[in-house]
């Protein structure tokens, strides 16, 4: 354990411990930083016919979300404004945990996807991107005679 400035600050200790754990388990993350804790949070799943990506990106205007697919690399970017009061307001902010600003997340997917068959929808703050696999790559049952 490292020396901490205020050893009795339990929360700082836990924070540091969590970072250490992350480094210990994810010792070689992808170069594009497929790391946890970013905005938006991502869930990726696959079916035999498609790849399904869920981006948990609340509070956006769907027209302002940029989704791009190029050679099996999906990129999701945009910007989220702040709900906090502007500079001259007399209101005081007690907690500010929500993400604001520009975001950009990139996921490397398998290369058997068909860039022409992509559907993206945004509902209840979740962006769902569904990409079909190329016909040739889909599993086919071979008849045995």
């Amino acid at each position: 354990m490292d020396f901490s400035l205020f050893p009795r600050d339990l929360f700082a200790e836990l924070d540091r411990l969590q970072r250490q754990m992350q480094q210990a388990f994810e010792f070689s993350p992808s170069i594009r930083g497929f790391a946890r804790g970013g905005y938006p949070a991502l869930n990726v799943a696959s079916t035999p016919q498609s790849a399904e990506i869920y981006a948990f990106a609340p509070g956006l205007d769907p027209a302002q979300i940029h989704v791009q697919l190029e050679r099996g690399v999906l990129s999701i970017s945009g910007e989220r404004g702040s709900d906090l009061p502007a500079g001259e307001s007399t209101a005081s902010v007690h907690v500010a945990e929500r993400f604001t600003g520009r975001f950009h997340r990139v996921i490397t997917l398998s290369d058997d996807l068909d860039a022409e068959q992509v559907r993206a929808s945004y509902r209840d703050g979740v962006l769902h991107v569904s990409i079909q696999r190329q016909q040739a790559a889909q599993p086919r049952r071979i008849q045995v005679n």
Partner: protein, 124 residues
């Protein structure tokens, strides 16, 4: 959005593991505004209630997913959110307004009339 404080809640429901949503809390002269990120929660999946002096925000996700799906990377691993705050006495639990828009909850809690700041005149 009013609920009586003495509703007995099933203990099991409260003990289910849940995600802790990030929030912003802003106070002005007339009350407190709370924003919470609850992506995936539809309007009817949201449950905001006050239990005595405790504000409870709960949300159940309503995502539609293909049946034969196999997860390969998961950052959101639970289908519900829960966060609890203790309210202070000057807030009026009877005057609670909730608004849900694209996965963001906006909650407004008014201060009781007597608790609003008053400027005290200094004489002499």
């Amino acid at each position: 959005m009013e609920q009586s404080a003495n509703i007995v809640r099933e203990p099991q429901a409260a003990e289910q593991p849940a995600l802790v949503p990030p929030v912003d809390v802003i106070e002005d002269e007339s009350g407190i505004t709370l924003y919470a990120d609850l992506p995936g929660v539809p309007r009817d999946g949201l449950d905001v209630h006050i239990d005595g002096e405790v504000l409870v925000i709960e949300g159940e996700m309503g995502l539609e997913m293909p049946k034969d799906m196999e997860a390969t990377h998961v950052e959101v691993g639970l289908p519900r959110y829960r966060r609890v705050f203790t309210l202070s006495k000057e807030l009026d639990p009877g005057r609670l307004q909730a608004e849900m828009k694209q996965g963001v909850l906006k909650l407004r809690i008014q201060k009781a009339e007597r608790a609003r700041p008053r400027r005290i005149e200094v004489s002499g």
